[in-house]
C-alpha cells in the first residue's frame, strides 16, 4: 500500500511536470496513446495478475466503448460525456452477462472463449454498417468539452487522459489492497481453498471481469474522441494480444509494472520505426526473450535490482 501510494504520487508529479519539458504535440500524442492503453491495462492487470484469469478479447470491450461514444455522438447527437457513461454501463452489463458462462472456464479454454468473444465483437463492428459505418468507420466524432474548455489540443487531451488514468490508478490501488483484492489474489492462487474460506469465487471473478471491461470501455471512449474517428481495425485479436503482452511484459503482479508495460510497448515501435521492416522480428524476439529471462516482467527486474542494491548496502554496512 505504502509503496503503491508513493509510486502514485511520483507518477502524479511526473504527469504534471512533464509538460514543462515536452513541446511537441507529437510527444503528447505518444503520451496520450500510452495513457489510453494504460487505462485498459490497469483493468486487465487486476483481471490477469490479481484474479489470475486470462482474456484474449479485451480489445473487443475497448472497441465497444469507442463505438458507443462514436455512434451515440455522431448518429444520435448525444452529449459526449453521457455517451461515454452509457458506453461504460453497457460494456459492464455486456461483460457481466458474457462472463457468467465464460468465467467458468479455465486456462486454454478461457483463453479461447475470450478470444472468440473478441472476434465476434469485431465482426459486429465490421458488419453492422448502418450503425457503425462498417470497415470504413465513423468520422467527425466531436471533441470532449468541460468547464467551457474544449479538449481539442493534444496538451489538453493529455491532461484529460492522464487525470483519468491517475484517478483509476488510485481506485485500483485501493481495490487491490482491500479485502476484495486479497480475495482476488486468493482466487488466482487456489480457487478451491478460496471458496472454502467463504469467498464467492464466481461472483468476484465476474465482478473483476466486468470492472476490467469497464476500464477498457472508458479508454475506448477517450480513444474515439481523441482520434475523432473509429474503425474496426484497432479492436482485433492482435490488439488483444498486445494488451496482454503489455500486462505480462510490464509485470502482471503489480499495477505500476503493467503501466510500464503499456509505456514500453507503445513507445517502443516509435523508436523501432527506424528498423522499418525488422520491427516485427524485433517485437517477437522481445516477447520471447522477456518471458524466458524475466517472467515477472519489468517490475520483476526492477524489484530484483532493488533487492540487490539493498543487499549490497547491507553487506557494506556489515563490513564497515
Amino acid at each position: 500500500m505504502k509503496r503503491d501510494a508513493v509510486i502514485w504520487a511520483a507518477l502524479t508529479l511526473l504527469v504534471f511536470t512533464l509538460p514543462a519539458f515536452v513541446h511537441s504535440p507529437y510527444y503528447y500524442s505518444v503520451l496520450i496513446i500510452i495513457g489510453i492503453f494504460g487505462i485498459v491495462v490497469l483493468g486487465l492487470t487486476m483481471l490477469i495478475g490479481y484474479a489470475g484469469q486470462i482474456s484474449l478479447g479485451h480489445a473487443g470491450f475497448f472497441g465497444f466503448g469507442a463505438y458507443f461514444s462514436a455512434v451515440l455522438t455522431t448518429r444520435f447527437h448525444l452529449d459526449p460525456w453521457l455517451a461515454m457513461l452509457v458506453g461504460l454501463v453497457a460494456t459492464i452489463v455486456l461483460a457481466f452477462l458474457l462472463g457468467i458462462p465464460t468465467l467458468k472456464l479455465h486456462g486454454h479454454y478461457l483463453a479461447m472463449a475470450t478470444l472468440g468473444l473478441g472476434m465476434v465483437l469485431q465482426i459486429i463492428f465490421k458488419e453492422e454498417v448502418e450503425l457503425t459505418g462498417g470497415p470504413t468507420g465513423l468520422t467527425d466524432v466531436p471533441h470532449l468539452k468541460a468547464f467551457g474548455m474544449v479538449f481539442a489540443s493534444d496538451q489538453k487531451f493529455y491532461f484529460l487522459v492522464w487525470i483519468f488514468l491517475l484517478v483509476l490508478y488510485g481506485l485500483s490501488i485501493n481495490l487491490v489492497h482491500s479485502r476484495l483484492g486479497r480475495a482476488l489474489r486468493a482466487i488466482s492462487s487456489n480457487q478451491t481453498a478460496a471458496g472454502s474460506l467463504g469467498i464467492p469465487v464466481n461472483r468476484l471473478k465476474l465482478l473483476i471481469f466486468a470492472v476490467s471491461a469497464g476500464y477498457a470501455s472508458l479508454a475506448g471512449s477517450l480513444y474515439a474522441h481523441y482520434l475523432s474517428f473509429v474503425n474496426p481495425s484497432p479492436f482485433g485479436f492482435l490488439v488483444s494480444v498486445k494488451l496482454v503482452a503489455m500486462v505480462v511484459i510490464g509485470g502482471s503482479q503489480s499495477l505500476w509494472g503493467a503501466l510500464l508495460g503499456a509505456g514500453l510497448l507503445t513507445a517502443l515501435p516509435e523508436f523501432l520505426a527506424v528498423l522499418q521492416d525488422y520491427e516485427m522480428l524485433v517485437y517477437g524476439a522481445i516477447l520471447i526473450v522477456m518471458m524466458m529471462f524475466a517472467p515477472q516482467g519489468l517490475a520483476g527486474i526492477l524489484a530484483g535490482l532493488h533487492e540487490w542494491v539493498k543487499n549490497r548496502d547491507h553487506k557494506k554496512n556489515a563490513q564497515a
Binding site: S172, N174, L175, S178, T192, A193, S196, L197, G198
Partner: protein
Amino acid sequence: MLKLENIRKSFGGLKALDGVSFEVNPGEILGLIGPNGAGKTTLFNVVSGIFPSDSGSVFFQRKNITRLPTHQIARLGIFRTFQNPSIFEAMSVLENLMVGNHLQGRAGFFSAIFKPPWERKEEQRMREQAQAVLKGIGLSDSADAAAGSLPFGKLRMLELGRALCAEPHLLMLDEPAAGLNQRETEDLTNFIAGLRAKKITIVVIEHDMSLVMGLSDRVAVLDQGRKIAEGAPQAVQHNPAVLKAYLGEEDWIKSLRR
C-alpha cells in the same frame, strides 16, 4: 451439530462413498480414520460443498446444506484444511491469514475503491485479528514473508491458522500431521487440544494413531465408502470389523494395538 444421512458419491464406476451416515456433536473432537481410499477426503469435500453428493443429505445446525455452494457453507461457520496445504503462495503470511478473515469483513466493491473511514477501521481490525492468530501459531517473525517460502511444517500451521481466523464453529482437518516430524506433531496435538477450550467442534482425518487416539472424544472408521465402526477410541481399536479392514496392513494393526 453436523449430521450426515446416507451420503453416496461415485466417480465414474468407483463408489467413493456408499451410504455414510453419522453425527458430530457440538464441542467434540471426532477422529475419522480408515485405510487409504476409504473415502475420508471425499466426505470432507461433500460436506464443504466442493463437490455435491449424488444422494443423501448433510445437515448443519438442523439446516440442510447438501446443495449449497462452497462459499455459503463457509458462511455458516464450517471451515477446513486440505491434505496438501493449499495456502496462497504468492501472498505474504499475514495476507493469508487476512484472507481467512474474509467473512469477518463486509467492505464491498465501492467501499474498497473509495476507502471510507469505516473501511479503514475494518481493515485495521482484520489486521489486528490476523496478527493475534499469527502470534498464536508462532509465525509472527515471518509475517511479511511470502507464504510459499515457509518450510512444510509451518505451512501446515499457517493453513490451520487461516481456518482459525475465520472463527469456525466446525473445523475439519484433513491429515494435519502428515509430513510433520515427531516434535511438530506433538506441538500440533497440543495446539488442537487447546482449541477444545474455545468450544470449536473438530473433525480430524489422521493416520497418526497416537494423535487420533489421544485427541478424539469419539472415532468413526470408514472402509470402502462405508462406515464400519463408530465409538470411543478404545472400543474402536478392538472392533473386529476395523481389524479386518486394516488386514494386511501390518503397520496399521500394530499402530492400532499400540
